[in-house]
């Protein structure tokens, strides 16, 4: 017998003879926060992320442009922000090793945890979210769901081959519990509220 058949047969023979129906899972959304954006921002800051909002009346992208002037290599997977390392020139993930700032658009965000969701389509090259030293994430404030129960009803988890929640930057406190940002992945993650282009 193959290992597969062996294991499945052993599992079948040892199944506990008990009636355990699957439970119904509520959405737990009876008391949503007054503002999803404010709740998201608060959760994001708690998890070490940054939130960069342009002053009222100013161009939404202005704070990003300011950040980009400090970077040598910028790779953007969004049409709104231009970088100097076009994704079309990236043939292997390793080509992103020297990127200072990566720019991506989130598929959506989760107020409960301060997470943003990035899919393989959002990232262009998945490694952009990890090899970059810093990540800037555009988020349409209309794309925020209240909690993870709502998040997992979204279509992204059944479409592409990769979808990930980023909640703040890469972090570790493996040595004496001292919190460090920038363990192996990005050193900072900045969310900028920018509505999706119309159409």
């Amino acid at each position: 017998m193959s290992s597969r058949d062996d294991i499945l047969a052993a599992v079948h023979a040892n199944l506990p003879k008990l009636d355990r129906p699957p439970p119904w899972v509520p959405m737990f959304d009876d008391s949503p926060p007054a503002s999803l954006l404010a709740a998201f921002r608060e959760s994001l800051l708690e998890m070490g992320g940054d939130f960069l909002d342009a002053p009222a009346g100013e161009d939404r992208l202005q704070p990003i442009r300011q950040r980009l002037t400090e970077a040598k290599v910028v790779c953007s997977a969004t049409p709104e922000v231009a970088g100097n390392r076009p994704l079309s020139s990236v043939h292997a993930p390793q080509d992103l090793a020297d990127v200072d700032i990566g720019v991506v658009r989130a598929a959506f965000a989760v107020a409960e945890t301060g997470s943003i969701c990035l899919t393989d389509a959002n990232l262009g090259v998945n490694a952009l979210g990890y090899l970059s030293q810093h990540l800037i994430v555009l988020l349409d404030p209309a794309d925020i769901v209240v909690n993870l129960h709502h998040a997992y009803r979204r279509p992204e988890f059944g479409q592409g081959h990769y979808a990930t929640f980023h909640t703040g930057p890469s972090a570790t406190a493996d040595i004496e519990g001292v919190l460090i940002h920038g363990a192996q992945g990005v050193r900072s993650l900045t969310v900028v509220p920018v509505p999706r282009p119309a159409g």
Binding site: S3, R4, D6, I7, V11, N14, L15, P16, D19, R20, P21, P22, P23, V25, P26, L45, E46, M47, G48, Q94, E112, S115, D120, N126, A127, G129, Y130, L131, N147, L148, H149, A151, Y152, R153, F157, G160, H161, Y162, A163, T164, F165, H166, T167, G168, S170, A171, T172, D174, I175, E176, G177, V178, L179, I180, H181, G182, A183, Q184, G185, V186
Partner: protein, 525 residues
Amino acid sequence: MNDNQAAIQAAMLGAELATSGMLHPELAAPSDESVVKEGRRLEHAEGTSRPIRPPSEPQPRGARIRGNRRVSQSEAANRFIAATQHEKMHDERLWDLRQKRDRVMHRIPEWEELRSLASAIKEHTLTHLDEYLDQFEANARSNGIHVHWARDGAEHNRIVHEILREHGATSLIKSKSMLTEECGFRTYMASVGIEVIETDLGERIQQLDNEDPSHVVVPAVHKLRTDVAQVFAKTLGTDPGNSNVHYLAEAQREATRPLILKADAGMTGANFVVAETGTFVVCTNEGNADLSANVPKLHIASIGIEKLIPSLEHLAVFVRLLSRSALGSPITQYTSHFRGPRVGGEMHVVLVDNGRSKRLGMEEFWTSLKCIRCGACMNTCPVYRRSGGLSYGATYSGPIGLIIDPTFNRHKYSALPFSSTLNGSCTNVCPVKINIHEQIAAWRKVMAENHELPLMKKSAMKAAGALLAHPTLYRAAIASADVALNVLPRFALYNRLNAWGKHREVPHAPRQTFHSWYRKNRGTP
């Protein structure tokens, strides 16, 4: 009050706040090295909720392993306790994680409902495990994932080796996986000439120090910064006199990145596997699993067959519970969902049994398969916190280890179920409601029936057995023991014959036994 007095009072109040709730206030650090943003001190991931810093001291090592001989957890624990700074720091940090868990739990009104749901989902899946495994395999295959099956650790290692050989791969970057620890994966790979590089900071420290991980979530939690500085000085060439944590973490990042960029293959584990969509889910704080999965062309995931859950609606329950239970952080920094290979890449999943199907058939112990490896039971356990994970001499330590390890080797780990006070705290914090302390007690019975009792326990148990078999005798003994506890001088309680008095204060005895209270208040039982 003048300004000076006010300043002194404020400083005293600050000091009091900083140390309140600490088990060992003397560990309070004079300055804070954590991240502060917009005036708030961050404590997400496994960060401590207050600055702590112990003086340096040589590191105690773990249990002595001698072939198949019974591991003595208490012998190694004694050495850990003798290393006062290590013991205090370990105790403090893990108790802090437990307190962080409590705080974050209180913010979720439906917490207890989530625990019940998680338990019910796992029990449903485990009682239909063959169907869900079959469903996952079909869906994963249709998305382009190669699915392999391994009966045990040895077969797992051979399968992975074969995949690597076919690709001419000689270096592998990997993220933390308790399953690969079970399989003795790194030892095997070293024997066939494949370089394995752990990319989680804690796991990398342990790999470079030739030690096993001591905790399922924070693998190097038993080490002080000065221990890490020594390991890195020897292996990465850092300054042996510099134990600044930011310096050490940055040195590891810089040393590991070139290895990540040139690795031939990447390996991850999985926290959850969704049958309905053919997805596996990996949760980390460092982003190292996503680097391992997304930089090399080849991604291999090693997954225990108990990780299955039916669908995405169930996944929400577990993601909400995992990091909150483990670290008191609302979610891990990264929660990644893999459904298939990326363009130009190749993805393999190895489903591993390694004793799980057998455990499923054990009437008293099958629910241990519900475990999601959060480590909450370890953080709360008074024995674990004071003896360190390496004292257990097994892949899994702490309360969950006591009930899983004997399924791998009943004789070698026969003393482990006795390393517990049966206080039940582990059961109370378990996010999937495993009755851990009851299973520990049940394992003691199994060991007794199989003549695996350690000698000391045997003579004590014989006397206790006679007592427990006779209710009248038992009640008389308890009443007199309580009186004795209140009147006996210290030397009678804290001596070498009373193992319970070692390193702990015996509790104040109640004025009345429960039995006499019940008889008085509730009539004749």
